[in-house]
């Protein structure tokens, strides 16, 4: 068979899955480890990284439900935490509570943006590939089967239920109807699983020889890992 055709070498990304995962854990750890007076610096550094890597995720904290939550965090703290030592438009509030509330909001914003940025930039298959490296072999294949089987199962179950409804539903033979419905759904799922296995076997699949989904390593990933780990280590030492 001819092997002509495009065999394009894909352009290597600057930041790969490993780099993005390091940034994700670094962002969360940074805010957890940083002492209170270092938080503005930590947030500034993190903000710079977030703007570079996933600027779109920075819009998430401005959604109405998050703004309401942040407002609630601040209001709860200024009234109930610390001494009421400030007068704000005639109301006695706590300056200590305000600081604590702001810190909580900043941490929440960092976690929110980090999760959004990571989940938008890294495919679930790559996460599965990553977890496979930690001993969960075959996870990528299992997740793929599950994700592709679920819509089928949902539709098949819905059809079975609709079909039962057309036969009177669960009126006179309630328990029998329910049992038959479950058997039908499970039977269909097993048939489908059998088809999947045959199809996988026809492509040389064997559970003993399943291959781990390869991870994409970006050009800067090792640099990001080194800098990220060093900065966290430095923070721990400073504390």
């Amino acid at each position: 068979m001819s092997t002509e055709g495009r065999s394009a070498e894909p352009v290597r990304r600057l930041v790969g899955t490993m780099g993005r995962l390091v940034v994700f854990f670094w962002s969360i750890s940074l805010l957890l480890i940083a002492p209170p007076n270092w938080i503005p610096l930590a947030v500034g550094t993190w903000l710079g990284v977030a703007v570079l890597l996933h600027p779109a995720a920075l819009r998430v904290p401005f959604r109405r439900r998050w703004i309401l939550l942040f407002g609630f965090l601040i209001v709860a703290n200024i009234f109930w935490v610390g001494e009421l030592d400030w007068n704000l438009w005639g109301l006695a509030v706590s300056s200590e509570g305000l600081l604590i509330g702001l810190q909580m909001v900043l941490r929440a914003v960092v976690v929110l943006v980090a999760v959004e940025g990571f989940s938008n930039s890294v495919d679930i298959a790559e996460v599965a590939g990553l977890l496979e490296r930690f001993g969960l072999e075959g996870l990528g294949f299992s997740m793929g089967v599950a994700v592709n089987l679920l819509p089928f199962l949902r539709q098949s179950s819905l059809n079975a239920w609709r079909s039962l409804r057309m036969k009177g539903g669960l009126r006179r033979q309630r328990w029998r109807g329910l049992r038959l419905l479950l058997v039908n759904i499970i039977g269909n799922a097993l048939c489908r699983a059998d088809e999947v296995v045959l199809s996988a076997e026809a492509r040389a699949f064997s559970p003993d020889r399943s291959r781990i989904i390869p991870l994409e390593i970006g050009a800067f990933d090792w640099l990001i890992l080194t800098v990220g780990l060093s900065s966290l280590l430095a923070l721990i030492l400073v504390r």
Binding site: M1, S2, T3, E4, G5, R6, S7, A8, P10, D123, I124, A125, A128, G140, F141, M143, G144, V147, N148, L149, P151, F152, S156, N159, A160, R162, S163, R165, M166, K167, G168, G169, R171, R172, Q173, G177, L180, L181, V183, N184, G187, N188, C191, R192, E195, V196, V197, L198, S199, A200, E201, A202, R203, A204, F205, S206, R209, S210, R211, P214
Partner: protein
């Protein structure tokens, strides 16, 4: 490339192939066809090594594919020479990205990263899918899914590609996509193709040769023009001939005509109906009236909203907007007044035997009458099968059982969603004749189908759906081809 000698395959239920001998040279495209249960799929399973390695069956004879004896080599070894594509594209895709799906086979072979990447690129470009490599297979259309399945098979660099009814669940657009891919593979890459199909127009265009099978044997083998023009052979086997397949779009085949018989009151009337799932409207502003005893066809491409319309009419899906009036009032009980036969009969069959299945609905509604039960079994030709387990029935028998279960509640409107999938013309014709009898007795039939011939032959009225709306309503325009066909049939009938 393929050498089969005295091949006999037997399942627990009986012989599937009997003493089959054939040779297929390199680069040839062979169309294998025949009535349901003739052994086509078993032949595909043998060529890919699934029989005898993964599916239990008695196997006699010798089969060599690309120089490998299928009994001696493992499926993994055979997979490097023979690619397999099955009927249902969804059950062949189990990854989260198209790229990983196509890379699955090469990775299983333990190839290096560069080799896997090179094979994936080649397979995706051969199937014109380079732009879809990051998409999720579950989000693709039926035709695209089947193309991904072909690409996944191609990435194993097979010399032979075996496709088992790849067009079965596709509309015309999907079929054209897959046909173009196969044509390119054959012309540019010299892949030997074994195409197993009921649908002959596209298959005949691709094929150099046709193998016609019946009862596990090859009964005709030759050039497409010679085999496909033997009308008596096709008629005797209950198969369709090439002239049964117009290739024009539905719009050009239907003449607008909204006249109805004035003496009849409407059975069901839908006014301004919109419906969908999760806030997404699948059908919009539907105005449709069905009358007692009508035989109506609902046609359109995949995703046009035909099944959704049927679910709404059956009272199984609530409309977002609009009103549905059944026999002058509201629809009270789904199943009793309106029944819907789903595409996959297995979704509809619950109990352990044919007898129980047909009796379940009437017993549940407290309407069971032994005489009526026996009559329904007789009408659906299920009397001899009444004690059989449902899983032991053929696809056609399962479908007849599901339909008998619907009819046991005497619905006034029966809707059938794609009853043609996987059925040969002989089975279909018997089903349609039965529905015509029902329609003559006053039951309204709504047939959802892609099948031109059924529409042409049986429907009194045709409703064409496009993008969730009724685009055209009228009757089938008999093409010159159909007129000739009708003339030939009449002449044959008169001897």
């Amino acid at each position: 490339m393929i050498r089969v000698r005295n091949l006999t395959v037997r399942y627990d239920s009986g012989f599937a192939l009997q003493d089959v001998t054939l040779d297929i040279p390199t680069g040839q495209c062979v169309l294998v066809t025949g009535p349901s249960g003739c052994g086509k799929s078993t032949l595909a399973r043998v060529l890919t090594g699934l029989i005898p390695h993964a599916i239990s069956a008695q196997f006699e004879g010798a089969v060599h594919v690309a120089g490998m004896d299928v009994r001696e080599h493992t499926i993994a070894e055979l997979a490097q020479r023979v690619g397999a594509v099955f009927q249902n594209p969804s059950s062949q895709l189990f990854h989260l990205r198209v790229e990983d799906e196509v890379a699955f086979g090469p990775r299983n072979l333990g190839l290096s990263k560069d080799e896997v990447r090179e094979r994936v690129s080649w397979a995706l470009s051969a199937t014109n899918l380079m732009g879809s490599m990051d998409r999720r297979p579950s989000e693709l259309s039926g035709g695209e899914k089947q193309q991904v399945a072909i690409a996944a098979a191609l990435a194993m660099r097979p010399r032979v590609l075996v496709l088992d009814e790849p067009f079965a669940s596709l509309d015309m657009h999907g079929i054209r996509q897959v046909t173009a891919t196969l044509q390119a593979l054959r012309e540019r890459h010299g892949v030997t193709i074994v195409l197993i199909e009921h649908r002959l127009v596209e298959g005949a265009r691709l094929a150099d040769r046709v193998l016609l099978m019946a009862e596990g044997r090859v009964i005709a083998d030759g050039e497409p023009t010679a085999i496909l023009s033997d009308q008596h052979l096709w008629r005797n086997l209950g198969l369709r001939r090439l002239m049964d397949y117009p290739t024009e779009p539905w719009r050009s085949l239907v003449i607008a005509d909204s006249r109805h018989r004035g003496d009849l009151t409407a059975l069901i009337e839908m006014r301004g109906v919109s419906a969908g799932y999760g806030g997404r409207r699948v059908i919009q502003d539907i105005n449709l009236t069905l009358y007692p005893g009508e035989f109506v066809a609902l046609v359109g491409d995949n995703g046009a909203g035909k099944s959704t319309l049927a679910l709404v009419a059956a009272g199984l899906l609530k409309p977002l907007e609009g009103t549905i009036c059944f026999n002058g009032g509201e629809l009270k009980q789904p199943g009793l007044d309106i029944s819907l036969l789903f595409q996959n009969p297995l979704d509809q069959l619950f109990t352990e035997s044919v007898n129980e299945e047909v009796a379940f609905g009437p017993r549940n509604y407290g309407l069971f009458e032994p005489e009526r039960h026996v009559q329904i079994l007789a009408e659906a030709d299920l009397v001899d099968l009444r004690s059989r387990r449902l899983m032991a029935l053929s696809g056609g028998q399962q479908q007849r059982t599901a339909m008998a279960a619907c009819l046991s509640l005497c619905p006034r409107l029966l809707m059938l969603d794609e009853p043609t999938i996987g059925q040969d013309w002989g089975h279909l014709q018997r089903l349609m004749d039965f529905l015509t009898t029902l329609s003559q007795k006053g039951t309204t039939i709504l047939l959802i189908t892609h099948d031109y011939k059924l529409v042409c032959r049986y429907a009194q009225r045709v409703i064409v759906m496009e993008e969730g709306k009724i685009a055209l309503e009228g009757r089938f325009r008999r093409s010159e081809q159909e007129k000739t066909y009708a003339h030939v049939e009449a002449r044959e009938a008169w001897g």
